[in-house]
Amino acid sequence: MATAFKKEQKAERPARGGVVTFVEAIRQGIWEEMERDERVFVIGEDVGVYGGAFKVTDGLIDYFGPERVIDTPISEAAIVGAACGAALMGMRPVAEFQFIDFISCGFDMLTNFAAKCRYRWGAGIPAVFRGPCGAGVHAGPFHSQNVESFFMNTPGLKMVEPSNPYDAKGLIKAAIRDPDPVLFFEHKKLYRLPRLRQEIPEDDYIVEIGRARVAREGHDLSIITFGAQVLTALDAAEELEREGLDIEVIDLRTLLPLDRETILASVRKTSRALILHEAPRTGGIGGEIAGLIAEEAFEWLDAPVVRIGATDTPVPYSPPLEEYHLPQVKDVVDAARRLAAY
């Protein structure tokens, strides 16, 4: 069937590397993987001519054609299920949720089908399920969520959330090449954040899934975080430095499976741990990390493990409410001071 609309110009192939934004890095990563491996294809709502709600897949359809850039009905269960089926057949689908909040509509497919195939009958599902997550843009309860803890208790899924362009590109490529299902969360606030613009290599590279990164080295206290909260942690660290506190920031990058070694090595060095995430605190993955530290690094601790998250509420729309709900630099600074003084 002919498509109803044509673009006048073929999109330009993105540069390899260069100085890029977060969104551009992800787009480059998908683009290069589609060039490298013809089994890779993109599937989701409005990902074709429109290029996705956040333009992550912009131009792909012109280059790779509608067979490899598939616009779907509003049917998340079908998107996930079809990606799984295609992956079983040896393809490498990259499925997009228009907002990660809509992952709930594909929940059953992800947690029961995708996550359990290899375990049950040895059939891996090499598929990526990606989408914009996160709050702070006044988008209200249904376009702002962070969903990692919905899936943390589902063995068989991997979860990745980058905090900068370099990692975003390296991780999306690794996710596409991974033999198992990977949920890939992109904080929408980072997409075009000028502060994150960064030079990335021209050459093909990946960032290994399952490896955290020391985003800032320090000796007094470890802030363990990921995604957009890495920036909150770094800002807090800078402020605390002026008070003579030397903060280490761990950027988890992969949430499932957790990089236990990097977390534990940091806490054993600093003896103080503060876990920071943007999802509500109760039931958030901070609890899992705190449990790990309590079990494996108890003797090294000089203070209780502290968790900072959003308040235990939905994400509200109005700016004063949303600001109250989300963890702020000030909350991290205050908690870190008390933790250091404990």
Binding site: A4, A77, D101, T313, P314, Y324, A335
Partner: protein, 429 residues
């Protein structure tokens, strides 16, 4: 007009009869068809189109999309009828049980919807609305006309573009403005956006963003109403896109087997974000899907407010008298992008121009004046009254403070049982 399909869906219209003053004497303004047959044949639709062009009654709609466009998703128009011929001078369905006062009230709500949205766009451009603005420009008649067929005790679950239904249900514009502006006096006190709030008193169930989810919810509303021996019906609105969800299917199927009085209004506005309808569904008409649920399907011209009212009225009567669920497809068009940020680069210009001529407000004004129902001056007076009202409503909303930050912590649970979710103190005792 004779029905080309034969006996089924037989029209009971009295030809040439303009209107009656009895609202309950419902004229047949749409083809109601049984579960197995929905789509109109081409000859029939052609005739309808021509009659519309002559300024006479347009019944079940026939529409044409952009010439040459591959559009399996709209009822095709018979060859030889040029698009402009059916659009210029087009008025609304002549057969109606609405009184003059009711028709003017309908005009009030239609115009109110248009003007509230225009104000919202202004406020958006002044950065006073910080979330998105989702226009229903060009499709307002569907929401207003269908909702107007409900009784006060009936329920609706609107979509984001159904501001018209919300207003018709009696929600004041000030609530909408305050909500969009994230103000403390808005119905959700700044917690949610746009029309994402509810009002049980007025029969307005607050929707969520996740499309399709309101269909099963409304099924539950009606299940309960039946247990409570309430004779109410409900309208759940859904888009051409939202119909592709699993929740839609499960909800409508359940309502159908329970024979619950659920009226699903499928707003066929040709796009779901950027996706044209032929990528959502392989059926020709959305109403064709009724067959899969064993319920009646109607097709109505969504830009003819009278037809929208009459068709829904009929469905409402059918549902309320125990007939069960009904699917109404309203054929219309989304003339703006998905939201204000969307440049509509995927929409051909000609298509927009074509549909501008089919503007439902212009069309209803033309109808009211040409049929001697109201004078231009009377309509201008209504418009002036609305503008005056909106000045006050916007001023009220603007005068509201933003919510206090700590209010974010309230109302997650019943706070008489569970305390508010304040930001926890860290290492503070």
């Amino acid at each position: 007009m004779t029905n080309k399909r034969g006996s089924r869906g037989k029209s009971t219209r009295a030809n040439g009869k303009k209107r009656t003053s009895n609202r309950t004497e419902t004229a047949r303004t749409a083809e109601v068809v049984d579960a197995a047959t929905v789509a109109l044949d081409e000859a029939g639709t052609g005739e309808i189109a021509q009659r519309g062009g002559n300024g006479a009654s347009a019944t079940s709609v026939a529409m044409q999309t952009t010439a040459g466009r591959d559009s399996v998703h709209l009822v095709e128009i018979v060859e030889g009828v040029q698009a402009p011929a059916i659009d210029e001078g087009l008025i609304c369905s002549l057969e109606t049980g609405l009184t003059r006062e009711q028709m003017l009230e309908l005009y009030y709500y239609l115009k109110l919807t248009r003007l509230v949205e225009e104000r919202l766009v202004n406020l958006y451009r002044q950065n006073k609305v910080i979330g998105g603005v989702y226009r229903s420009l060009g499709q307002e008649a569907t929401a207003v006309g269908t909702c107007y067929a409900l009784e006060p005790g009936d329920f609706i679950a609107p979509l984001i573009r159904d501001l018209g239904a919300v207003l018709t249900k009696g929600i004041r514009p000030r609530a909408i403005f305050a909500q969009y502006m994230a103000k403390a006096w808005g119905p959700s006190e700044g917690r949610d956006l746009n029309i994402h709030f509810g009002d049980m008193e007025r029969g307005f169930i607050g929707p969520i963003s996740h499309l399709g989810d309101m269909i099963p919810v409304m099924t539950g509303v009606l299940l309960a109403a039946r247990m409570q021996q309430k004779k109410i019906v409900a309208i759940a609105y859904i888009g051409d896109g939202g119909m592709s969800t699993g929740a839609f299917h499960e909800g409508l199927n359940f309502a159908a087997v329970q024979r619950l009085p659920l009226i699903v209004v499928a707003e066929h506005n040709c796009y779901a974000y950027s996706t044209p309808t032929h990528k959502q569904t392989a059926v020709k008409n959305l109403a064709d899907k009724a067959a899969g649920y064993g319920i009646p399907g109607y097709i109505v011209d969504g830009n003819d407010i009278i037809a929208c009212y009459e068709t829904t009225k009929r469905a409402v009567d059918f549902a309320r008298s125990g007939g069960g669920a009904v699917l109404i497809e309203a054929k219309t068009y989304r003339r703006k992008g998905h939201a204000e940020h969307d440049d509509q680069r995927y929409v051909p210009r000609e298509e927009l121009e074509l549909w501008e001529k089919r503007d439902p407000v212009d069309r209803y004004e033309r109808h009211l004046t040409s049929q001697g129902i109201a004078t231009r001056e009377e309509l201008d007076q209504i418009t002036a009254r609305i503008k005056q009202e909106l000045e006050e409503e916007v001023a009220w909303a603007e005068s509201s403070p933003l919510p206090e930050p700590e209010r974010a912590a309230y109302n997650v649970y019943d706070n008489s049982i569970v305390p508010p979710a304040f930001r926890p103190k860290v290492l503070e005792r």
